[in-house]
Symmetry: D2
């Protein structure tokens, strides 16, 4: 951190700032210049809240220099993390496809969708048993009944199960019956839940919060990793903006931005990211073209009857076409990306 | 809900929509017009996810008519809710002041601030014992040690204690030692926590989420009320926008907007809502002038040494001046507001 | 438009609404229902500002049904518009590449970049002679001196010239020396300028405003077309959000959203859309994969010396690599897109 | 500006950055530290686009230190600007009220409203003769016919006329018939128009752009002042956010934020800032309580028949009540504000 004093700051004002720095246990480095003095700060174990200095007399500006994260950075780990789930991987050479219905609604629905997912070559099946719904009056998921169905799908198709945890007890159940713990956008800063997931042996798929900056998102991943669980997958699912033609605004630039800072794999969810079935396929192509490690997709055997997120679910036929398209783009872009200097600079 | 068909929609397409409506257990009301047909829907107990119809053939537009909430509405309860906490009230004739440090840091700090709060005539003391922090490396609150200090303050000053719960177990502790359960912005859609708070006997202060629409915020209150706890206080604390001169953009228009729809009291937090001490007093004046039922304020005996949110804390002297100003504005505006036809229309 | 009355609205209140509708020259269609009355409105030549009804007694909700545009719609013209500029096209089978420096700075700079642009096979050269700059103290473009350079490039390389007009007189000059009139994001709602461009014979490239909804953007195009100029190209260049890892948030979902409504071609500008050179290539790939008709790109022979937008300019080498990548993706996706049912539904 | 090099940056990389700084005519100040080198930059006449350095090898971060404006600052002029329009003032001790219809529609409408405005004691009459409308099919204002009406109002009531200019020729007409040139939100970065207004003798009321940061807004004022016109009044009118309960989100924190930086007067427009008549009075109270120098208000003798912005116009009766309320708050807060240390620090 760097504190820039006003041009006319008095010696006493500078001393007062230095004294505050020392009082909070840090080391001040005053650097007098021709027109003003700047004071560097070191010795902090974590980030310092620079705003405490903004109201001190004589202070012109407080500038944060150190980035606040450690474990997610390429500085710490220069090669990319490949998350292994049994024989499947996320972040490696294969394009990870996580597909399934928004919520498990019935045995028939779940099996019909799982069959289409399996046929497409995907390795991961998604399906919520607890649904975080904006309204208390909306369908909230099948709960434990849903687990029975999911267990059968896991056995019957050999698909890895990705399910969202809404509270600590859910993580225990996912550890018993599932393969990947999903933390949803609404819980991205539910720090108790993040810490609990950080103590699990299962990988954690961490969705970006609705209004999360890149820094907040990466710090949420840091919460999980700080507890010892390094298998974190980031998932871009769109952010809230003024735009009204989509449910969320899918921010595909977050993919190269994360690549430049972090070794963690990042996937894209064009279903929640757009909210409309007709947009999912074009944005899935874009997500793979931008360099994502995978896609999360909602599929339903009867989208018009779905109990949640009906408008964004693909039919099995649409889904199969999407997969053909994105695999072709992946095959094409993998060697292209290696060829890009800007990208290789980051990797 | 109203489904508007395209001008040239075929009879079969209209029948197919009707059939979907019937299949989900609702009653369709087709209304053929000169150029197109609209189909009304009734019979729903909760809101219907209209997007399921958007991709059906022949559908031009899906229009939601029914508002999705019930318990928070003036339709349900035309007179304003007054939340009682012992002999103090929120939503009644007195201006509720909830003041204190961001976090309890030490016995001396908490007592010094509580003394100033008590002297100002405020009835509520705020102070977190668990802090939701963006970074895992930042100060996370004193935890149980903090409870001891808070209990002493409650006894010594007779102030009502308002503290944030981050997980279910915290609610149990607040019930033992505190008076009002605060649900923070980051947990506004932590539905498990909302339900648990809904089963408590204590009032719930529900902060608006960082990117929450009015509807989502009111539906979060509906989650609490649906469990039987009708003592909910809403707290506007600013939303995330592109603006960079404040930490959040304080949306004071939410106060009259809520008044028009809901009987719940609403207070304003200009400390988090701006993030800078020099803005807190002007925005506190504005909050009272707009008609809020109270204010939530951060005060610290040594703001420059605060372990969290240092830049937005007022000194006891600044705080005392603020209170004098807002009480004068409250005295002035109370009869004025009664005089306003637009407001009385809502009340 | 549809006006929904409150359940208990009095007959007099309904009559009053009907009377207001008649007073503004429109035709009311009252539709009494079991629990409430709705009133449809027809006869409007343009859109009706529905908010005028919101404050009338007894009104519960005002719902807009008619979309406000005409000329840009697929209803009006079901096949896609192909804009022809000499022997080049935008919106047809070729991928339109518009590349060049942010601003014309010197003869040497412009010629070095134009050479790279020509070699890549691109048909359009961009380069501002007047620069809209946030600060009055920043480089404002070469003005008329720039025109001399651009004319020479047009002659020497046979590239079509795309230049931004900041005021009416600029359009006259572009008609003399250039090929396509660009209306920048800051002027998207400069309606005088739009009308003037609408009376030109040259095609108009209309950038999306920084905070423009899709509807506002399309209505800006409607302004140009209403004057008789149907050769409008839309350009997505990112919108302003809370995100800080990019200069703007590139909203690629606008491409399929426009396709569904409008026959106009749409291109993507990943240079302004991200603001960072290292992101331009991945987002250019994404833009082509999502189905854009072309790309607008900033190239500079010495990006580190550029007088404006230095951080987002590609070197000629990076640019050449980008072009190879996007052409490969275009070749791949063109038949794929034709194969997509959701897309063909729109076309 | 400060360029922070990476910890391991090579001596050659540092030299390369120094060389780029010198090549653009500035002076580098390398400051080697224990773990890394920072390079300060001086000698710039205007702001330097720091992003040009971000992609150079070895650069960790580019930090802007100098603020980009000069003429608007308290550094330049420590006492507040009072804009004089005849015998009326904006920014002085009186609360400036600018009221009138959104657009001049007819002689009767304009005179009925002007009468109410005059009776309230307001000194300024607003009313557009050219309306910037999102749709080309909406009412665009009376144009020159409107001027005749406005001239009569000016003469009959002695009110000062505030009218929006959409293009350069409008400024000439306002100079002939009006008193204050309004630059609307959509034209806040129409730099040609700002420069033309900067060469006028009339004061300029500059509305904040829909998505303008404080810095962009102040730099737009700087454009006007750089041409020699120092009589600029800033007008907060809300910004675009995800919120849907208001037309715009009124950002009242911009008032103290501007006070801290600039000597220019700032007023608030709660009519456009909320878009709903029922919210205008509460937000007008809040605007005065926060410390604004005035208000801009829309009044219509028959709001339900207004040709534009019908939903936000007050009736003359509602307007008269609003004025009584805000004058009372102004009387109360003027001495209070003087009493506030945080404010006096800025003044």
């Amino acid at each position: 951190m760097l504190i820039v004093m006003k041009p006319g700051a008095a010696g006493q004002e500078i001393d007062a700032v230095i004294s505050v720095i020392q009082n909070i246990g840090l080391r001040p480095h005053p650097m007098p210049g021709a027109t003003r003095t700047a004071i560097g700060i070191t010795g902090n174990t974590g980030p310092v809240d620079g705003r405490r200095f903004e109201n001190l007399a004589g202070v012109a500006e407080v500038i944060r220099v150190t980035k606040p994260y450690k474990l997610i950075t390429l500085d710490l780990r220069p090669e990319k993390t490949v998350v292994r789930v049994g024989d499947a991987t996320i972040g490696g050479s294969e394009l990870a496809i996580i597909a399934g219905p928004c919520a498990i609604e019935s045995h028939d629905q779940a099996f019909a969708v799982a069959k289409a997912v399996k046929q497409s070559g995907a390795r991961f099946f998604r399906g919520s048993v607890w649904k975080p719904r904006t309204s208390p009056y909306a369908f909230q998921g099948l709960g434990e009944k849903g687990w029975k169905i999911i267990s059968e799908i896991r056995q019957a198709f050999g698909l890895k199960i990705v399910t969202e945890a809404l509270e600590a007890s859910h993580i225990d159940l996912i550890e018993q019956y599932g393969d990947v713990i999903q933390i949803g956008a609404r819980n991205m800063q539910n720090f108790s839940l993040l810490r609990k997931a950080g103590r699990s042996k299962l990988p954690v798929l961490l969705k970006r919060g609705m209004a999360a900056t890149l820094e907040e998102w990466l710090l949420a991943a840091e919460y999980v990793m700080a507890e010892g669980n390094y298998n974190v997958i980031l998932c871009e699912r769109g952010v809230r903006t003024f735009a009204q033609h989509t449910r969320n605004t899918l921010d595909l630039a977050s993919v190269p931005a994360i690549r430049r800072i972090s070794h963690l794999p990042v996937i894209v969810d064009p279903s929640h990211g757009t909210g409309s079935a007709y947009m999912v396929t074009p944005l899935a192509r874009a997500g793979v073209a931008v360099g994502a490690d995978g896609l999360m997709l909602e599929v339903h055997n009867h989208p018009e009857l779905a109990l949640s997120d009906a408008a964004q679910a693909l039919t099995p036929t649409e889904y199969a076409q999407l997969i053909r398209q994105v695999l072709a783009i992946r095959d094409l872009t993998t060697p292209l990306i290696t060829d890009t200097p800007a990208q290789s600079q980051a990797a």
